[in-house]
Subunit: 294 residues, 2 copies
């Protein structure tokens, strides 16, 4: 264990819980070339009870077929990636993004996933980063009532700061928690609609990660694992399999457990080398590494 959730690792309690394969979920981009049906069936073959789906793959499979694949195998959808991308140059374009997020909420509900993962958007429209952040908060506020109505939760995923320009101006758990504080005001404290996605790859460097995981508490809606390998093979597609890099994943899992999270743990790895391997072999490796390192 090398780079855990700083400051949160020394307490007792959930520290001692063993990793549990019953919580492991395959985020389907880990087996990028698999369709939704292939990913769901692969999980069933591997004995996994959870799969994280992506909207482009669901669209390619068809929403109805995707729902059927889940129902027939008994595999549950742990989350849907992704909503978000709120900042845009014009009001009309921002409104179109909100409509798209509402469609994502509907898909999430149909798939039986309780969390829509929000990748909030960058500044590629030419905007100021502070203004883009306001567009993000306004966008989440606008769709939160729709999510609530459909029984879907919105998980703000802070991305690694290296994605600040092109993918997400939300780059720390602190920002996401601050936003969740405000955006949950209309909702009961014990049943929040806006929360955070803790992806160890995105937040492991943050000296405040441990404290912000504790603060997030019942607003942790998802937990993603992969590893940070060096030299980084690529900015977007350079994630590593758990155990191949520098993140103290067990410390992260313990910190998230201590904060009260009991849900699935998604393994989400964008890596071109991994994508060339057979999906079933990737799942076996993922299970072994999960047990050893998460």
């Amino acid at each position: 264990v090398r780079a855990g959730a700083a400051g949160a690792a020394s307490e007792r309690g959930a520290d001692e819980a063993p990793p549990d394969l019953g919580r492991l979920s395959l985020n389907q981009y880990t087996t990028y070339h698999w369709s939704v049906a292939e990913a769901v069936e692969g999980c069933a073959r591997a004995g996994l009870g959870w799969v994280g789906l992506w909207r482009d793959k669901v669209a390619a499979q068809g929403l109805r077929d995707s729902v059927r694949a889940l129902r027939e195998t008994g595999v549950h959808c742990s989350s849907l990636c992704r909503g978000g991308m709120f900042p845009a140059a014009t009001a009309a374009e921002r409104a179109a993004r909100l409509d798209d997020n509402r469609r994502a909420i509907d898909e999430c509900a149909e798939l039986g996933a309780d969390t829509l993962v929000l990748v909030c958007g960058g500044i590629h429209h030419g905007g100021d980063v502070a203004a883009a952040r306001e567009m993000v908060w306004d966008g989440i506020a606008a769709i939160a009532p729709d999510a609530r109505e459909r029984g879907v939760r919105l998980g703000i995923e802070p991305l690694h700061p290296m994605f600040c320009a092109d993918r997400s101006v939300v780059v720390t758990l602190g920002q996401a928690n601050d936003a969740a504080d405000r955006l949950n005001e209309p909702f009961p404290a014990d049943d929040p609609t806006v929360g955070v996605v803790v992806d160890a790859y995105h937040v492991w460097w943050d000296p405040r990660a441990g404290a912000e995981i504790t603060r997030a508490g019942n607003r942790i809606f998802a937990f993603h694992v992969s590893d940070w390998i060096t030299p980084l093979p690529a900015v977007l597609e350079g994630r590593g399999m758990m155990g191949d890099g520098w993140i103290g994943l067990r410390e992260f899992r313990r910190a998230v457990d201590r904060a009260g999270y009991r849900g699935p743990i998604e393994c989400e790895i964008f890596n071109r080398e991994l994508w060339e391997q057979a999906g079933d072999a990737v799942l076996e490796l993922m299970k072994a590494r999960y047990l050893a390192h998460v």
Copy 2:
């Protein structure tokens, strides 16, 4: 202006100061293939009064020759890169790193540079990230009296979080300011020995950058500029010329000015394409972009 030092841009005052070529400094890695003598002479030809030097280049030139080149041209050394790299697996290796930092302090004094830039080190020795951070603070505390004695200031440079594993576990201005608070206790508040280097490339994504620049105040020892281009061409050598990317450099310069910094502004760009161009042309482009964007 797109992504400035959030929250610090709306005040008055230094906002109105025009950019001043008298503050522009060439960090010599921007013209990577130039020796120290070539960089110093290039600055003189371009009418620049400052150059930021690197220890490997000074060693190749020879310290005495480097000092002579500065004296003969009247170009001043704005900072020396780099000290740091404190974390290591054994006490003996950590002590050797301290010795090397003390040599860097001596070189800095010889070159007449008042700031040694600290790139603090990562976790490649196999260490825990929290423990590595403690090694950094212990290391700076150990060399601060030596720096003080030689009239050299230690500038902690938070690196972008994408360098956390291999180059610096110090990744935010908040961390660096916290450390400076503690490490300056032996020294007068109006003449600190430990401070921060604000490099816009490394900190522009941070929602707290503006507040932490204000907090740094008279502990801002250097200010570096370049730009964040997308898609990022490479993790290490993918920086852009000012104006080619997404950082609101003018807002950063104004924020640093408002905090009281009056020193040189170093242009430090690691970029392979730029390195293939003729040095004199790079300096002319740098001057024009500085005036337009910083």
